[in-house]
Each structure stands twice: as structure tokens, then as C-alpha cells.
Symmetry: C2
Subunit: 417 residues, 2 copies
């Protein structure tokens, strides 16, 4: 079954917010075997919204529309669909009661606007909203299906998890599976990656293989379509093996295995702990590591030392070192890493010192960063250059530091074996 997703909202069209809803919906629909072939964004404009929905009805079987179910005047999705389908609406008392309870629990009265959210088209199945006030709707129209979902991501995902995915499973049964697997690579560029696996990439085949770059990494995405998850998984296993033979040293993770998740697993396996000493990343490296639940088992802390004085006082970086080489130097990075290890009494200390930009600092170029990893016996240090915006640089620097630590942990384990 072909799915089109229409994300409504002038804030989306104007570029005020990022479209995270589509990413969520698409991933889940694909996992369930639905072919998501079209995505459209349209503003809070009745004629254009109507045109988009009519166009979607021509080319898709299931049309999912997010947004525009709120209590304000700009929320026009339900009215647009009701007009297209020629439906009447009624006041649903159960929905009304839930909206009332929502506000009562917060100690407020129900604003007058919200009653429009309890008007339900005749024949629609109601998807109740446990996080906000707008119910979702599942409408059958001329052998097609229109599904209306609230725009706020937390409301939409909760409604999908609890109600829509089970409903789609029940109504449409198994769609076969479209299964994707993504290999994450560091240390190699896009063209060279493509060269190494060019003969495996046969257009329109099954599985398909695609390559793309993100935040200083390369991703290889394999997509297989099959009757069952098992068959699709086996197809992916075969191609993953082939690709790993060609690019063994670059692949560091699979699917949602982010660097922080893999680091956490490695540290737990080896019963080791880590602490950070961060300057230009400002806490981002340890924040990424602590995105992983259970990270308190291996992350002892981080010292964000933004001034030379605090580098000296907290991490014991020598005044002479700072004076002679500056904060952005190998020497300072090494002393910071050793200092972090000692301060937090961790197995590993990781330090980051550099200039994320945009301005120069200490006469050192923008983008110059030193990352050091201290173990019990030795300190490693690498020099890097980063070429993007301050915020993008911070992210790439933090990921590079985590990657460097992972490499050192793996090296240590290889030596021991």
C-alpha cells in the first residue's frame, strides 16, 4: 500500500521549524512494510491544502496528514477534509470530557476555543490524545484512507505508538517488510566509499544500497523488501558481510548505534569509567555520552574549563604550559586529559581544547582543535581541523573525541589479547 504524508503548517513552510514528524512516521511505516513514496508540506491555506489532499488521493492509498487540529483559527485541517469528503460533524461527548479533564488536571478552565476539537466527522474512528487535547481521526473515503494526526511531535508519536500502529496492523495485516540497515563509517570520504562498493550498487535492485555524508561521517544504507522480517534480515546480513569485507577498518556502528551508545557498551563490557575535560565543546561531549540511559555507570563527570585559570586550578595544567604553548596546544590538551583522569579518578580522561570559531583566538586558526586521551600509562593526542559553523564544529569535535576514545579502548583490548 502506498502512503503519502502531508505535513501541514505555515511554520513548516516558512522554515521556522524542522520537520521531525515525517522522519518518525516514515521510519515506522517502512518498518511495517508500507511504501512511503510521497511527502508534501503545505501551509495553513485552505485551497492549497485541499489541492494537496486531492492530489494525494490520486496517487496514494493511505494519506496521513499532520497538524492543524489545534484550537486556534489557523487550524483548518479537519474542516478541509470534512469538505472534501462531504461529511457532517457531531459533538463527541467522550472527547469533550477528555478535553475538560485535561484542563481540570492542570487547575485551569477549558478555554472556549477548545470545543471545536470535540467536533468529530460522522463515521470517523477517533484516536484519543493522551498528551494533548486534539483527537486524531481515521476516515475511510472512496476506498482510500485519510488519517489526521496532531502536529506537536510528542502528541503525534504517543498517538501512533498506542493507537495508529496497532490499528494499521489490524486493518491491513502484514504488508511484507521493508527493512533498512545503516552502516556508519568514519575516516573515509563519500567518493572513495562509492568506488569500493560500486559493483554492489545495482540500481533498482533488492536490496538497494545508498551512500551519504553527515556530520563528518559516511552512512551506507541497505534497504531490503521481503515477505517477512526474517527474509529481509537475511538479505541485509549477506550484503553487510560483503561490504564489511571491502571497508573493514572504517565501519564503526550499525543503525542507531551512535558513537555514545557504542562507547557506553564498550566501557560497560570492560568495566571502565571515563571523565572529560572540555574547553571549546563546552560540555557537549559529556552531554552526548549522557544521552544514553545508564551512562552513570561509566561517565563520572566532566570539567568544562573555559578559562586558563580554571584549567590550572581544577585540572592542574601548569601555568608554564599555558604561558608557553597556550590553551590551544598539544601540551595543554595532554595535561587536561591527565588532570581529568586524576580529578574524577576515572580509567580514561578525555580532553578537548581548541577554537570552534567564528573568531580567532590566541593567534591560532579557527577550527584548530587538540583532543587527548589519557590512560593509566600513556596520553595520546591528535590535532584536528574543523571547517564549519561554531555549533556544527562543536558537534563534530565532540563526536571525534568520543571516536578517538573508542579507538584507544579497542587498541588496548587488542594488545591485551
Amino acid at each position: 500500500m502506498i502512503v503519502e504524508v502531508i505535513n501541514t503548517g505555515t511554520e513548516l513552510l516558512l522554515g521556522e521549524i524542522l520537520n521531525t514528524n515525517f522522519q518518525y512516521l516514515s521510519r515506522h511505516l517502512n518498518n511495517m512494510g508500507f511504501d512511503v513514496l510521497y511527502q508534501t508540506t503545505v501551509g495553513d491555506n485552505a485551497p492549497r491544502m485541499k489541492q494537496s489532499v486531492l492530489h494525494a488521493l490520486e496517487r496514494a492509498d493511505i494519506i496521513i496528514i499532520t497538524g492543524g487540529l489545534g484550537p486556534t483559527r489557523g487550524d483548518i485541517t479537519k474542516d478541509t477534509i470534512v469538505e472534501i469528503c462531504g461529511l457532517e460533524c457531531y459533538l463527541d461527548l467522550d472527547t469533550w470530557g477528555r478535553i475538560d479533564a485535561f484542563f481540570t488536571k492542570k487547575g485551569s478552565c477549558v478555554p472556549a476555543n477548545n470545543d471545536k476539537q470535540a467536533m468529530i466527522p460522522v463515521g470517523a474512528e477517533i484516536l484519543q490524545n493522551d498528551v494533548g487535547t486534539a483527537p486524531g481521526l481515521f476516515i475511510c473515503y472512496q476506498n482510500k484512507y485519510l488519517i489526521l494526526l496532531p502536529g506537536p511531535p510528542a502528541e503525534m508519536t504517543d498517538m501512533c505508538e498506542k493507537q495508529l500502529w496497532p490499528l494499521l496492523e489490524k486493518k491491513f495485516g502484514s504488508q511484507g517488510i521493508i527493512l533498512s540497515r545503516t552502516l556508519h563509517l568514519r575516516g573515509i570520504g563519500e567518493s572513495l566509499t562509492a568506488e569500493k562498493i560500486d559493483d554492489l550498487i545495482i540500481e533498482q535492485s533488492n536490496p538497494t544500497i545508498a551512500i551519504y555524508a553527515r556530520h563528518g561521517e559516511i552512512l551506507i544504507r541497505l534497504t531490503a523488501k521481503a515477505e517477512t522480517r526474517q527474509i529481509a534480515g537475511a538479505m541485509l546480513d549477506d550484503y553487510e558481510k560483503l561490504i564489511r569485507k571491502r571497508l573493514p577498518q572504517y565501519i564503526y556502528g550499525v543503525d542507531d548505534e551512535s558513537l555514545p551508545a557504542i562507547l557506553g557498551r564498550k566501557l560497560l563490557e570492560n568495566k571502565k569509567t571515563v571523565a572529560f575535560a572540555e574547553s571549546c565543546t563546552g560540555g557537549l561531549a559529556s552531554s552526548l555520552v549522557t544521552d544514553i540511559p545508564g551512562s552513570s555507570e561509566y561517565l563520572l563527570g566532566s570539567a568544562v574549563t573555559y578559562t586558563n585559570e580554571i584549567k590550572n586550578r581544577l585540572l592542574n595544567v601548569q601555568q608554564e604550559t599555558l604561558q608557553e604553548f597556550g590553551a590551544v596546544s598539544r601540551e595543554t590538551a595532554c595535561e587536561m586529559a591527565v588532570g581529568a583522569r586524576k580529578l574524577f579518578t576515572s580509567d580514561y580522561g578525555v580532553s578537548i581544547t581548541g577554537n570552534a570559531g567564528p573568531g580567532e583566538s590566541e593567534n591560532k586558526p579557527v577550527g584548530l582543535v587538540y583532543i587527548a586521551v589519557a590512560t593509566e600509562k600513556v596520553v595520546y593526542c591528535q590535532e584536528h581541523y574543523f571547517h564549519h559553523s561554531r555549533v556544527e564544529n562543536k558537534l563534530r569535535i565532540a563526536l571525534t573525541a568520543i571516536s578517538m576514545l573508542l579507538n584507544k579502548i579497542n587498541q588496548e583490548n587488542d594488545l591485551e589479547e
Copy 2:
């Protein structure tokens, strides 16, 4: 002139990556007065990409297509456009030289794949790529304009900044201006906000007013269309004044004035400094503050104290406090804030201790967080509950801490005046 943006790439359709390119393009095009009315995502599939482009040619004047200009087999955008427009291609030596230089500078040979990127349709204007290898293209076809841009965000934005925006200005002149202004509010919900300004929200008028929620905040977006930036700006000024009268205490910022940016300005104005003591946010609060260039003027550092032992050793949180009340408590939060202030010798100390989830901790509920702000004379502490995923909670907690600090700084200044 009406613009449609088509973002190509199966990785987008499959939900593997977020569509940040559209957000960038739309913001800039709107600022220049172009009406971005349609956005479509389509995969690396020739028939569907062709269908999308043909559909766009019916309803828009300018069609911007991102992605699919790479060297791999999956990159089919140029071929699709060339087929639609019936164009021949030639090998452009200048482009070929640039691609060669790109790889030479990195010390590599040019992979064989990349020569396809130097094939240029006859009559197309070339937009050179200073960050990657794929040139962009500007093609005139039957009184419409097709603009092909590379997919990787850094390449696309660089090409737009340096070449596309000046080119559009030159070719189409002034389009009038569509100017947006966004007011940021904290401490009030969406429905109540709508109620308070309901009479100002007149559908399809100019300026339009829209309300939406994000990361625990409310945003009110005003959009005005006029001949010149000056006239549009004046229209926005009028409505901003009206709205501020209705909601004075909730509006904390305008447009890109993020909480970290406003905090930075306030601290600089008052020549004050801050340090953080973070537990569950893991460094995210200080990382957000350091996203702002120049933050080293007021952010002295952060102690990410993930264990009780380090809370005691680094921040001087008393053992008795931790034993009696636990790490997630008012008492610990206050001692952490005072400790951060003393450790970094800053004017303000901000602490965050709590449980971002998903698991319970110390028999304290998921989402319970204490945030404290220590000044020279007093420590304030607030209790909060957060209800989202771990990563979303961390973000909301960090923003709440920055917001609380801002409020305290403002209160102190009010008292002094």
C-alpha cells in the same frame, strides 16, 4: 513569484535524516520576498522524480531541487532534468579542473565516478561548489526556472550564500518582502495564548499571526508582506506592540534571540559571570550557553558531577545532605549551586539535579528535577517535572535552568533600580 522546493533522496523519504535544507532555503527565500508555497520530498526514483518536477512546473515559477548531484549511481537528478528539458550535455573543463583540484589538495587521485559531475547541460548557468565537487545548475525552461543544488547542507548553503541569492536578486529584482517575526513565550500554554490575542488573529490578513508550541515554549509568529523591508517592519512593530500589551510577562525574546543569546547579552551588560553544576543534563546547559560566540566573556565553566562522591569532593555538597535527602533534592541543588559559584568564583552559580529518565532513581519519580540559582546573597530553588523522552527532557531542563537564571538577573536589576 511562486517557488516549489523539491528535496530528493531516498534517505529523506525513509526518514533516515532530517530535512534541514528546506528550512534553510525557505527562510532565505521568504526574506527575499519569494512565496514558497510547496515543498515535496521524493526518492532516488526516476519516474517519481520526473512526475514531481512536472507537477511542480505546473504550479510554480521557480523550482529548486536539492540532492542527487553526487558521483554515485543513485544520483539521478541531473539526468532527470536533462530528459524533461530535452537538453544535451558537454564536459565543462573548468568544472573538471575544480574537481581535480579538490582531490589533489587532499592528496588523493580523482575517483573515476566524479567525471559525471563535470557534464553540464547546454545553456545552464553553473554555480560552482567551493565546499564539495558537484556544481549547481540554473536552467531556464519554458519561462520557468529550474535550480539544481547539491544535497549536503554545508555545500548547499555555501553555494546559496555566494551565488544563488545574488543571482536571484539580479534576475528577478526585488520581490517585495515577506518578513516574519517570532515572539518567544514561556510560562503560558497554547490555548490561553490564543484566547488572549484571538481578536488580532484575522484569517488571511496581513500580517498573519500563528501560534505554536515547541520544547516547552510557545511561539507567536507574525508574517507581513509589503513592498519594502521598512514597511513590513513597521507593520510587524505595530502588532508586536499590541501583543506585548496582552502578554507582557510571558514574552522573553524575539526571533533568533534564544535563551542562551539573551542570557549572554544580560550577563555582558551587567558585567557578570556564571558557572554551572550539572548532574542529569550532563553538560548540556553549559554547552547551550557556549553555542554563543564570545561566551567565554561570561561563562567560566561547568562541573558535570555525575556521582555523589564528586558532588561532595568538587562542589562541597555535604555527605549528610546527600545521605538524608539524596542527590535529587532541594537541599543538594542549593549546595551544588553555591559550590559551583565558589569553585569557579563566578557571580552566579546554577545547578541542575534530577532524573531525566527513563528509569527511576533513588525512589524519586522520573522527570523530577531541582534547579537552583545562587547569587552572592541568596540561593533560589525550584522544583519541576518533565514528561518527555530522556533527550527531550535534558533539553527542556537545560532551557528552564537558563530561563530561571535570566529571571533572577532581571529581578536583581529591578530591585537595584
